[in-house]
């Protein structure tokens, strides 16, 4: 009788430790996931605040080279911006430019530096046009220009 009482206590003890361990494990894992997501979200917010660029062309004089129009993008933010047609999307008058029809002179722009965006002339007609350049984290700049 005495042994069975002790055995019952031992079983209670082991069961409570197992349940507490399981609850703790789940709790710890959930908190870990939430804090990781929070940290990643913080990194994204930080990047959104640090990335800033500007199209600095003369709106009445868009230079050309071969079959391309040249647009100058200046990094006026705080961090290096990767420039490729995977990180940037280009819109002319609201129409997206297919990735094959634009490219950059550099793979990235350092702060306060300039890179050249080449846009195929098949995408650009004459008249007043709006170029919208959307970069990483949806940071964007709009530029109104005229092709005579």
């Amino acid at each position: 009788m005495g042994f069975s009482l002790t055995g019952t206590h031992i079983i209670y003890f082991i069961a409570s430790v197992i349940i507490a361990g399981a609850v703790s494990g789940v709790f710890y894992a959930v908190v870990g996931n939430v804090t990781n997501s929070f940290s990643e979200r913080g990194d994204r917010v930080q990047d959104q605040l640090d990335i800033e660029f500007k199209i600095i062309n003369d709106p009445g004089n868009i230079p050309t080279k071969g079959n391309d129009y040249l647009f100058y993008l200046k990094n006026i933010g705080r961090v290096e911006i990767p420039t490729s047609n995977e990180t940037f999307y280009i819109f002319i008058d609201g129409e997206i430019v297919v990735t094959a029809n634009y490219n950059f002179s550099d793979s990235s722009i350092q702060p306060e530096e300039l890179t050249t965006l080449y846009v195929d002339n098949s995408e650009i007609s004459t008249g007043n046009l709006i170029l919208r350049v959307v970069g990483p984290y949806d940071i964007e700049d709009e530029f109104v220009f005229t092709i005579p």
């Binding site: 430790v17 908190v31 929070f38 640090d50």
Partner: protein, 142 residues
């Protein structure tokens, strides 16, 4: 029964403490970094508001069949500017240049030289500062 409860409470308590440590060690640096980025964004915005330049004169000199352009720029804002990070567009095209000063201080002038430029027609000049503020100037090569 009491001992089992104490053991379970201890395990859960330790787990809560570890979780709090994890939350604090993650959130504090994140908040600090985001706050730092906000500060820098605010600083950049203030600098842009306080930045202004004025192209006061352009002189051209014959260089063979081309022209050298000597551009005078005055800092009319209240922020010192890094001239090496300026950009010069003439008739829309970006050109390399040399500058007489590394920094353009407020109320000071600097001379930018663009050499060996073809064409003698009228020119439209745009100068962009390191933080994206610009000024235009039109002139004709006689």
């Amino acid at each position: 029964m009491g001992f089992s409860l104490s053991a379970a409470a201890a395990i859960i308590g330790v787990s809560i403490l570890l979780a709090i440590e994890m939350i604090v060690s993650t959130t504090v640096p994140t908040f600090t970094e985001v706050h730092d980025s906000y500060d820098k964004l605010r600083d950049r915005s203030i600098e842009q508001i306080q930045t202004d330049i004025n192209i006061t004169n352009v002189e051209t000199y014959v260089n063979g069949s081309n022209y050298d352009h000597n551009i005078t720029v005055e800092n009319t804002g209240s922020v010192s500017l890094v001239t090496g990070k300026f950009d010069i567009l003439i008739n829309g095209t970006s050109y390399n240049f040399e500058c007489s000063k590394a920094y353009l201080y407020p109320e000071s002038e600097a001379y930018f030289n663009v050499t060996n430029l073809a064409g003698s027609e009228s020119k439209k000049l745009k100068i962009v500062t390191n933080n994206g503020i610009s000024d235009y100037y039109e002139y004709t090569i006689p």
